[in-house]
């Protein structure tokens, strides 16, 4: 028998500090696999978020530069303008992208910056203990929406990916999920395609990944996968939102 599945080379051997069942762990692995398969390790630069994945540089064996909360898209712009032949990607949570970082994300897309954004949507602010996120759905219980998110008090969730698709500079936007082996594999394909779009210089690419946060959702990992399928996907349908690559 031969080994058909092992740890990607572009990930350091360190065990993840993330919670059991956390989506970050799966996503880090998928990105590592894509970097390996596309041979990008020597020319890729990543920007971690302010969030649970702030220490992503402890896991990815690639050049990484820290951004303050929400500003990764601006850093990516600066980096890519200086080094246009490198692959620059941001890895951001829902608050980072769609709350404090909304302007930077929309404008990076509008300018058609040739960078890639991995948008980790788990509907909650994980690192700070489970507060409401811009993508928390109505009725969702969080530490700042006790009793459930109410439209009158807390507004409705934002579908940022659909908003970004309107910008002419965005070349490829897809929403996937990592709540089943099949969806995990689809997510990997989407990440690879997003990097391809950047390699070809076609414009801004983004993959939004519906990701489990069992700890702050107060569920088991298996239950969190079900919740993504049965509840989250109703507000955030998966599929290709924009693809201008023809």
């Amino acid at each position: 028998m031969k080994k058909v599945f092992s740890r990607p080379k572009s990930l350091k051997p360190a065990p993840f500090h993330y919670c059991p069942g956390c989506g970050h762990s799966i996503l880090h692995r998928l990105i590592g696999e894509v970097i390996d398969e596309m041979n990008l390790q020597e020319r890729i630069i990543g920007i971690p978020p302010a969030g649970c994945a702030v220490l992503a540089y402890n896991y990815f064996d690639i050049d990484m530069g820290e951004a303050s909360h929400g500003r990764a898209a601006a850093l990516a712009t600066g980096l890519k303008r200086v080094l246009p032949d490198r692959i620059v990607f941001t890895y951001q949570g829902d608050g980072d992208i769609a709350a404090i970082g909304t302007a930077e994300t929309i404008h990076a897309a509008a300018r058609g910056e040739k960078v890639t954004t991995i948008f980790v949507n788990n509907g909650v602010y994980g690192m700070t203990g489970g507060q409401m996120a811009p993508t928390s759905i109505l009725g969702q219980n969080t530490t700042t929406t006790p009793g459930g998110r109410k439209e009158s008090r807390d507004g409705c969730p934002i579908n940022l990916s659909e908003m970004l698709a309107v910008a002419k500079g965005s070349a490829y936007i897809e929403r996937t999920a990592i709540n089943s082996p099949a969806n995990i594999l689809k997510t990997k394909k989407a990440i690879a395609k997003a990097f391809q779009v950047q390699l070809k210089g076609l414009g801004f690419s983004l993959v939004e990944v519906l990701s489990p946060c069992p700890t702050n959702w107060k569920m088991t990992s298996v239950e969190s996968w079900k919740w993504i399928e049965e509840v989250m996907m109703k507000s955030f349908p998966i599929g290709v939102i924009k693809d201008t690559t023809g």
């Binding site: 020597e42 303050s68 500003r71 990516a76 600066g78 080094l83 929309i106």
Partner: protein, 372 residues
């Protein structure tokens, strides 16, 4: 001298004479490009709009350079951070309200130990204020402005020529110490036109290589640039490291000018535009026999404390004149450590007193203190 009407940049390319008449904001931009800056990220705000406008055209003519009008002052400082991480000489500019927005980014630059140049053409404040020149951002520039223990190198030009020289110096200092440098001008410096001779151009390829940049881990181990240090001992050590850097800068990078202080009985302390006015006022009162001199700090941080203290051995009376409600005067008092008497005269809000007005203030102080 060549008279170069607006837009000066078109004429500059055909210019074979070394001295040009140029608007302050244009001087800063042109000096930055000649100092090797190829990346500018900014946002419009009066009275510095000419800087992004000039850069948008100048950088478009240079292969590999980039100008981005960002969506906000917050975005532009973070673009500078990204460009700096990649090893480039990068710059942003704004005025008071925009510099306020940049504070988190500037704190990050200090913590990440990244070089960058930030230009502030100050205006009246606080809040929206007005678009007239003032010096009310001295505290903001020299006291950190953002969160955490750090210092910005702050340079205070007072002429078109100094705008050029100190822009060059700003990039050198930023690279040498891996730290943000603020060029603290004001709306008047930015708008007025003076003759300028630019220092020799810096070829970008000859700039020293930086061995810490993010460029893709080719032929070397991967690296990361970050300011998050959860381990308190590590964070403490990092702060001490920054402190040692600031001590070195304080020892080696102080700049100042003195005028007519050798026999002075009273010294006016002023920086930037206020110092121009003060010099004019001092020339007037000297004609009437008053023995007044000028101490002009050029590096506002590190402040020329030693020089100030030295002066107090011969001079008892210091009159600090600023276009604000009293900011640099605190550094003067700190430097003197109780020696001498310090008085303050300030005009906030964008009011620019004339040398005649200030000469009257100086005379009145001089006679009140029975110095003549």
């Amino acid at each position: 001298m060549v008279f170069a009407p607006f837009p000066a940049r078109k004429l500059l390319s055909r210019c074979t004479v070394s001295k040009v008449l140029m608007r302050g904001n244009h001087v800063v931009a042109e000096a930055a490009v000649r100092a090797g800056c190829r990346f500018y990220f900014g946002y419009p705000i009066t009275p510095q709009n000419e800087i992004p406008e000039y850069m948008s055209e100048r950088l478009s003519k240079i292969e590999g350079a980039a100008f981005v009008q960002a969506e906000s002052e917050i975005a532009s400082i973070h673009m500078v951070i990204g460009a700096s991480m990649a090893g480039a000489r990068a710059m942003t500019s704004s005025s008071g309200p925009g510099i306020s927005l940049k504070q988190e980014g500037i704190s990050f630059l200090a913590g990440l130990e990244l070089p960058a140049v930030i230009v502030n053409m100050s205006r009246g404040g606080p809040g929206l204020g007005n678009i007239a020149p003032s010096q009310s951002d001295y505290f903001q520039a020299t006291r950190g402005g953002g969160h955490g223990d750090y210092r910005n190198i702050v340079l205070g030009p007072n002429s078109g020529q100094e705008l050029a020289n100190l822009t060059f110096a700003a990039f050198d200092l930023a690279d040498r110490y891996r730290t943000p440098v603020i060029l603290l001008g004001d709306g008047m410096l930015g708008q007025m036109m003076e003759p300028v001779e630019f220092p020799p151009e810096v070829p970008v390829k000859k700039l020293p290589q930086k061995d810490w940049v993010l460029s893709g881990a080719k032929g070397r181990p991967s690296r990361f640039i970050r300011s998050l240090l959860l381990d308190v001992t590590e964070e403490e050590e990092h702060n001490w490291k920054l402190m040692r850097k600031y001590e070195k800068i304080t020892k080696e990078e102080v700049q100042w000018e003195t005028y007519a202080t050798e026999d002075a009985k009273m010294v006016v302390v002023a920086f930037g535009t206020a110092a121009r006015i003060a010099k004019g006022a001092i020339k007037r009162v000297r004609e009437q026999g008053l023995r007044v001199g000028l101490l002009r700090p050029i590096s506002l941080w590190p402040f020329p404390s030693r020089v100030t203290k030295e002066l107090s051995k011969k001079v008892r009376f210091f009159l600090v004149f600023e276009l604000n409600m009293g900011q640099m005067v605190e550094d003067v008092r700190l430097a003197l450590e109780g020696a001498g008497e310090v008085h303050f005269y300030g005009r906030p809000g964008g009011v620019i007193p004339t040398p005649v007005e200030i000469s009257r203030i100086i005379s009145s102080q001089y006679y009140q203190k029975k110095l003549g």
